[in-house]
């Protein structure tokens, strides 16, 4: 049988069993389960856990960072909003209706004026 239990998987990957559960909770590597609920780690999962470790070491990342990267793939709206913000000259955000956006644009100068004359 090519599937390992969680402690065996921990041994071969260098993570602790605790961390394997945590990694799964972050959505980074989730293993299939046996009928009774045991986690079963196959070659694919082991591979993923190994390369995950390499990834962290190579680029000085933390699990939370990879979790955020995952969130970026799952929420294209978020990725798009960040893209827009990083474009130096920000236009209108995707999900803001024109009226609201214009109000904001006006309000900007408004508040600046009231500030500088206050």
């Amino acid at each position: 049988m090519a599937t390992l239990t969680i402690h065996e998987a921990a041994q071969t990957t260098g993570w602790s069993a605790r961390m394997l559960r945590y990694i799964e909770q972050l959505g980074l590597v989730d293993s299939p389960r046996s009928p009774s609920g045991y986690r079963l780690y196959g070659p694919a999962q082991l591979q993923r856990l190994r390369t995950l470790r390499e990834l962290l070491d190579a680029h000085d990342l933390e699990l939370g960072d990879v979790g955020f990267a995952l969130r970026l793939r799952k929420e294209p709206a978020l990725a798009g909003a960040l893209d827009e913000w990083f474009e130096a000259s920000p236009r209108k955000p995707v999900d803001v209706p024109d009226a609201e956006w214009l109000a904001f644009e006006q309000d900007k100068h408004q508040s600046l004026l009231t500030r500088s004359t206050a």
Copy 2:
């Protein structure tokens, strides 16, 4: 003159002066400086600070997250490595030679055996 000092900018953007310095330190919004070193916030910076706040509120982000997104733009190698990792079906990791991979597959059972007899 259309440039504000840090406390004025804090007023109009809703950040604290302390946070404006922190945001600059993260590399998210850095302002030009006066000859003597005072930060000068122009419309472009104020705009950026405003939209930054919207961004955080809209997507439940934190400054560190945006900082990480910035890092992704600055380090294409990092972004590429993450891309690769997220490609779901990883066969052999790019940088692990076949011999090593096979050794691992064998070693797996090996180490489990030696473990249990140790």
